[in-house]
Amino acid sequence: MIVIKSRKLRSGIKAAVPFIVIPALAVLGSAAFARKRHIIISLAIAAFALLLFAAGFEKKSTGTRRMVIVSVMTALCFAGRFIPFLKPMTALTIITALYLGGEAGFLVGAMSALLSNFYFGQGPWTAFQMLAWGMIGLFAGILSEPLRRNRILLLIYGAAAGVAYSFIMDIWTVLWYAEGFQWNLYFAALGTAIPYTVSYAVSNVLFLALLARPFGEKLERIKIKYGV
């Protein structure tokens, strides 16, 4: 990283962001802005979370092979977002996370959100989409052991991820529209988003059921053959 060059500063950020900056922002923000400016705080926290990840990733001497595989999966996700109604993006993110770990999952989710928004429109929501998809990947990586063993559990995780994605993005919608969070607007937003929520959940389950095994075999094979 050009901006964050010194190792000390980087590890400083890594320690400071989750334990000091984010709670401080949340507390200060709620005290200082009196429920008016929640959107600033939430955007700042999203940006800090992404920064934290970038700092951690930059530090590691991640092998070139691993990086290239992440970009292959990102390209597939990106291409998959053009399929109407059924989106394999989340499913591919989860599969990557299962076999290559949470960090790779986070990267594939966040990067494909960033990349595909060049065609679907960039906006302040990009940070939230990156974070939401990244978290889906990260948690899939953390839970990879049970998810890989149990197919039913994997499908449930996929459906839950679709619903959770919709819920997270609607928090953003409400914060953007109104100052402060309002439950009735949130429920209204969730209500209008039901078709999308269903399509997310259905496509996650469908693509996980279809792709999890063949993709898993391919990624496993690459891992064994090349020692990624």
Partner: protein
């Protein structure tokens, strides 16, 4: 003499985040109006009369967003009429219009932003923050057309081998699945080869360079400084200029002082900056051509 999109990408990004940042984080109605007008003006200057459909879509969205708040929220003292035993108030309607102006304004700004900030420019900006992430992005962009070409090759080969018929639906779907599977395996293997080749040529030993060079010229500095000055004046106006406006329970606004008026003027200038640059450039072009 450069048009707005030819400025340094970092300057353009800073400019866009300043304009939309003020629009999103202050809910002061004059700012919303200015940002909406500036966003629409820039989009029209860049695209002319094309994209009539997206203008129509934005208008529709504006109406829906403006109507959503009075239907949901019943605060406010001036009741316009009663619907389903719920009062529809003037204040809630005005609030809805204000929010809608903010959202549609930001949407217009980001339309232009997406057009101006091509992926190559974003890689330049991202490369300054994190070279590795920018590499992943640039490779993913390159893989998409590559996979397209390769999938056509695989399909041709499979057809030539007689494994693929597209007049039978079941066979067609099966064939496509097989092509996809082959493509993924090939993509992963090819990626590994790419990675080894990169490592062999010394990837990661030095700083990554850019295919296209974006220099930081004097006019870039000028635009950056102008943006920061105007942004600073706007923020000062918001902080100390009496730019207050509250909708509930009744519409109430303070009279802006000198600093506040300066802030409004600064934000108006900021929002119209790209339109001014574009107009200046097009006038100069016309003048130069008229002399040939």
């Amino acid at each position: 003499m450069r048009s707005f999109q030819e400025f340094n990408p970092i300057v353009i990004a800073v400019y866009f985040f300043s304009v939309t940042g003020v629009a999103m984080f202050s809910s002061y109605p004059p700012f919303m109006a200015v940002s909406l007008l500036g966003g629409i003006a820039l989009y029209l200057v860049r695209n002319g009369r094309r994209h009539a459909r997206s203008h129509f879509f934005f208008l529709l969205l504006f109406l829906i967003l403006a109507a959503a708040n009075p239907l949901m929220s019943h605060n406010g003292v001036t009741v316009l009429f009663i619907m389903n035993d719920n009062p529809i108030t003037l204040e809630a309607l005005l609030y809805g219009i204000n929010s809608a102006a903010m959202i549609i304004g930001v949407l217009y700004w980001f339309r232009s932003f997406t057009q101006i900030m091509t992926s190559e420019k974003l890689l330049y900006v991202a490369g300054a923050l994190s070279p590795k992430l920018s590499l992943i992005l640039s490779m993913a962009i390159r893989f998409v057309p590559l996979f397209n070409r390769q999938s056509k090759r695989v399909k041709d080969t499979q057809t030539a081998m007689g494994l693929f018929r597209d007049d039978n639906v079941v066979d067609d779907i099966r064939g496509r699945m097989r092509i996809f599977s082959i493509l993924v395996t090939w993509g992963l293997e090819n990626g590994i080869i790419t990675a080894d080749s990169m490592a062999a040529r010394g990837y990661g030993t030095g700083r990554r360079s850019q295919m296209k060079r974006f220099r930081f010229r004097r006019s870039d500095t000028a635009l950056l400084l102008t943006t920061f000055t105007l942004l600073g004046m706007t923020v000062a106006g918001v902080m100390a200029g009496g730019l207050t406006f509250s909708f509930y329970p009744a519409v109430k606004y303070g009279t802006p002082g000198i600093i506040g008026i300066c802030g409004i003027a600064a934000y108006s200038l900021l929002a119209l900056l790209p339109v001014i640059i574009e107009t200046e450039v097009s006038i100069k072009w016309r003048y130069l051509r008229s002399r040939i």
